[in-house]
Amino acid sequence: MDEESLLLSLELASGSGQGLSPDRRASLLTSLMLVKRDYRFDRVLFWGRILSLVADYYIAQGLSEDQLSPRKTLYSLNCMEWSLLPPATEEMEMQTSVVKGRFMGDPSHEYEHTELQKVNEGEKVFEEEVVVQIKEETRLVSIIDQIDKAVAVIPRGALFKTPFGPIRVNRTFEGLSSSEAKKLSSYFHFREPVELKNKTLLEKADLDPSLDFMDSLEHDIPKGPGAELRLGRERPQCAGE
């Protein structure tokens, strides 16, 4: 959620029961402003909160001018001091896929995972148990990345592509009409397109290159209940945002 419209967005998303206490909200507003200044971001978004056993992580993301370029992720435990997280790599994802259970709440906590690795010693091949240590920070990074790739959603028309390449916020976007808002095809994944090039020429002909440059939600599997649109209160709320 944009820090400018933070309060409004929080209220709209309150249907799921998760909210922020007043002190958190107040501290978020101030600290996000400072983060924007310090890191020179174009927009700072409050990504959300990850619940853990001891203390919750509050996550924010900063965007530069080009909206689709990789975002910088920051985390904080008290909504006041923010620390930058390293960008996610595939290796991290593989490592953290073995870790199960809740987050501990301590970023320096290390998960221990015993793996059987084949060790070659001369001609003998035997398996040795190796204890691999995975830091919670790494796990945090990869989880955020996975969630983003899967469910970060943006309505059609909110961003547009300029002829020079960078993607900008569409200032004339006024929201989707009620009939458009009910369709899954008017929402896109907020990430680099993966399936766009697989479309047939006929389908591509219907697309508007300045607006339709991301994957639509229509073709996601599981279909239907995978991303249900519910009309909550006065405007539709996406399960992803």
Binding site: S14, G17, Q18, S21, K100, E228, R233, E234
Partner: protein, 727 residues
């Protein structure tokens, strides 16, 4: 002018006349130009008259219109008809006013006498106009005043006349619209007519009945035959197709279509019926005060003893903890609970929480009825159970008969050895899992639906499956192992599990009542009732956060059996013993069921089992920056979404979530059971391959050898015997 036959119906002077005047104005201007060259003299006078006529008519029509609009009994459709016929009227009256142009009087051929009469009247008017314009003037003036005085009378008259007009009676609408006749002194004749006919004619009655019949709306829609015919005729008259009779069918169809697809006014947008508006309407109903409020006394009573909890206060505390719905939604929930309390005889009520679903969510209220109010539902359930038992008995009898038949048959079909496990009886209302009643609704404003009581088998099965709720109570739950019930039952089972696991309170808030009996007599099941401790003084918030021992469960733990108090399923009731004597002996030796024991009521949270080396609860202060005003918040790690807060003497539990337990691994639905053995395998039915030729020959050779050996032995024995005998 007095020679005009008294017109039984006063010409109505509603909008028709207004329209009329507009039409006539146009034609007037057109015809003005024409007469000028021919009869200049009369023309000068005629426009004058016409103008006066026009102005007077307009005034009259305006007045009548105003009176008209106050209580119009005429549907807009009928107005259309008037207007349609108007256009033709103009044709008649106009020439009539333009005196001296009899050539232009074209009496239109209409298949009704009214028309002819009108034209007749028009021609009469013409004559009179030709005779003396001054005369006309006076008469017009007098007529001008009459309509005003007669306005009301005409108006009421028209209402009665309204009923007469249908089915092409001779008193068609045409006459009424004739503005010429408006000012005819024959109106004077209307006055006595008004007075003379106050009661309805039998004929009029018949006409009323006929019209009422026509006005019946069809079963499928709101359209009545009457309206449809009116639409159709209006359309025809407006469009004036060449051969209307031929086109009647298609016109009929288009008219019908148009009724359902009204042409939107292109200048003005119709407001959309959005779902948001409908939602707002429903919410509005919530806000209306019930009963109108008879004085202040009732208000005070209501304020004192209401079962509705203070939702706003709890919402405020939960908001401090970072949990909960937005404040206006909380308020709407409060109003909805108020509605619930008014509808049902409720003793205590609590907002249990919100369960999110794929399409819609559920708001759940936990409710306890007043004493003796639940009998209705129990009776129904008992009937169902008895019906079930009767069926079972019937089934067993049939089985016995079947056995006798089968014995006669040589091949006995093996009977299945599988018997369904004995059904664990469900708990009584107000006990154990069914201690409270639950009502759900999808949104505040929608009616509350009562959830059925939960049975142990449902709880047992609910533990094995994990399905998202869709939001519709009658949706089936398709899963393996199959869940006995629909979404309402599944919801109730999950609510029971969540309540049993996560409803906690600070230590000391509840205490056990005075003991009524020995523990041993109850089978060691422990006490199952508690009461509020009047001497409870709140535990300081910091202590609540530090140690889990300061919190206790105040709902009973659910045993693996699915109940809170253990029941031996093998104990049969008397009926079953009579029927199943033979089976009992077989069973007793095989199954022994152990009594299941769970932690007793009011156990502290520190005794709860850990998940993967994690404590099942997380406790925190709501705000670390101001500990003196904070609230202690406890969050369940086992059921994500369950929260409890405590501050001073107040505490509350809430659940907002998807309704599923936390599991570290991803959920894998259990695989179907292996296919059961259909028959016992024995050598009789086992397939064996036929012996090969070599084997057969070998067998034969072996048999022959054996035979030969036996014969030799016999021969030997005989020889021996012979030898003996010889000796």
């Amino acid at each position: 002018m007095g020679d005009l036959p008294p017109d039984p119906e006063p010409p109505p002077q509603p909008t028709s006349s207004r329209r009329n005047s507009q039409v006539s104005e146009r034609r007037r201007s057109r015809e003005h130009s024409r007469p000028q060259p021919t009869v200049p003299g009369e023309v000068q006078q005629v426009p004058l008259d016409a103008q006066i006529l026009r102005s007077s008519r307009e005034m009259v029509s305006n007045q009548i219109n105003r009176g008209w609009s106050q209580g119009a009994s005429l549907t807009p459709n009928e107005n259309f008809i008037f207007q349609a016929e108007e256009a033709q009227r103009g044709g008649i009256e106009y020439p009539s006013l333009n005196t001296g142009f009899p050539s232009e009087v074209q009496p239109q051929t209409y298949p009704s006498e009214g028309r002819l009469q009108a034209s007749h009247n028009a021609s009469l008017m013409l004559q009179q106009l030709q005779q003396g314009k001054g005369n006309l003037f006076q008469q017009l003036e007098s007529a001008y005043q009459e309509p005003r005085a007669d306005l009301l009378g005409q108006y009421t008259r028209y209402q009665r006349e309204d009923l007469q007009f249908s089915q092409g009676t001779q008193h068609g609408p045409y006459l009424r619209d004739d503005p010429v006749l408006q000012f005819s002194p024959s109106e004077l004749g209307f006055m006595p007519f008004n007075v003379e006919v106050p009661e309805p004619d039998p004929r009029e009655l018949a006409v009323q009945n006929a019209k009422a019949y026509l006005l019946q709306t069809s079963v499928n829609c709101d359209l009545s035959l009457y309206e449809h015919l009116v639409n159709l005729l209006t359309k025809i008259l407006n469009q004036r197709p060449e051969d209307p009779l031929f086109l009647l069918e298609s016109l009929n169809r288009t008219t019908q279509w148009e009724w359902f697809h009204p042409k939107l006014d292109t200048l003005r947008d119709d407001p959309e019926m959005q779902t948001t508006y409908e939602m707002a309407e429903r919410h509005k109903a919530l806000f209306s005060q019930s009963g109108g409020g008879e004085g202040e006394q009732e208000m005070e009573e209501e304020v004192a003893e209401t079962a509705v909890p203070n939702i706003m206060e709890k919402a405020f505390y939960f908001e401090q903890a970072g949990v909960g719905l937005s404040s206006d939604e909380s308020f709407r929930i409060f109003l909805a609970l108020k509605q619930l309390v008014e509808q049902w005889p409720i003793h205590t009520c609590r907002f249990w929480g919100k369960i999110l679903g794929l399409r819609r969510s559920y708001l759940v209220a936990e409710v306890e009825f007043r004493e003796g109010e639940e009998e209705v539902e129990e009776e129904e359930v008992e009937e169902v159970m008895e019906g079930g038992e009767v069926m079972e008995a019937h089934g067993e009898e049939e089985g016995e008969e079947g056995e006798e038949d089968e014995e006669k048959v040589t091949d006995v079909i093996p009977k299945p050895t599988w018997k369904p496990p004995p059904v664990v009886p469900k708990e009584e209302s107000r006990n154990g899992t069914n201690k409270y009643l639950y009502f759900v609704c999808n949104e505040p404003g929608q009616p509350w639906v009562r959830l059925p009581h939960v049975t142990p088998i449902q709880i047992v099965q609910a533990r094995k499956i994990k399905k998202f709720f869709t939001g519709f109570l009658d949706a089936p739950v398709i899963s393996y192992p199959p869940f006995p019930g629909n979404e309402a039952n599944y919801l109730r089972a999950q609510i029971a599990r969540i309540s049993a696991a996560t409803h906690i309170s600070p230590l000391g808030f509840y205490q056990f009542g005075e003991e009524e009996g020995d523990e041993e007599e109850e089978g060691g099941a422990g006490r199952d009732s508690y009461e509020e401790n009047p001497d409870f003084e709140g535990i300081p918030v910091l202590e609540l956060v530090d140690s889990m021992a300061n919190w206790v469960h105040h709902t009973q733990h659910i045993l693996p059996q699915g109940r809170c108090t253990w029941v031996n399923p093998l104990q049969k009731t008397e009926e079953e013993e009579e029927l199943g004597e033979e089976e009992e002996k077989a069973d007793e030796g095989i199954e022994e069921v152990e009594q299941e024991v769970g932690p007793p009521l009011l156990t502290p949270l520190s005794e709860d089992a850990e998940i993967m080396h994690m404590s099942p609860w997380t406790a925190r202060l709501s705000c670390s920056l101001s500990p003196q005003y904070s609230v202690a918040v406890v969050r369940s790690n086992l059921w994500p979404g369950a929260y409890a807060y405590a501050s001073g003497k107040k505490f509350e539990n809430i659940y907002i979530g998807w309704g599923h337990k936390y599991s570290p691994e991803n959920f894998n639905p259990s695989l179907p059971a292996p296919v059961q053995q259909e028959y016992p395998s024995s050598p009789e039915i086992m397939e064996m391959s036929d012996p090969t030729v070599e084997e057969e020959q070998a067998l034969k050779a072996a048999q022959e050898q054996a035979l030969a050996a036996a014969e030799e032995e016999e021969e030997d024995e005989e020889e021996d015997e012979d030898e003996d005998q010889d000796d």
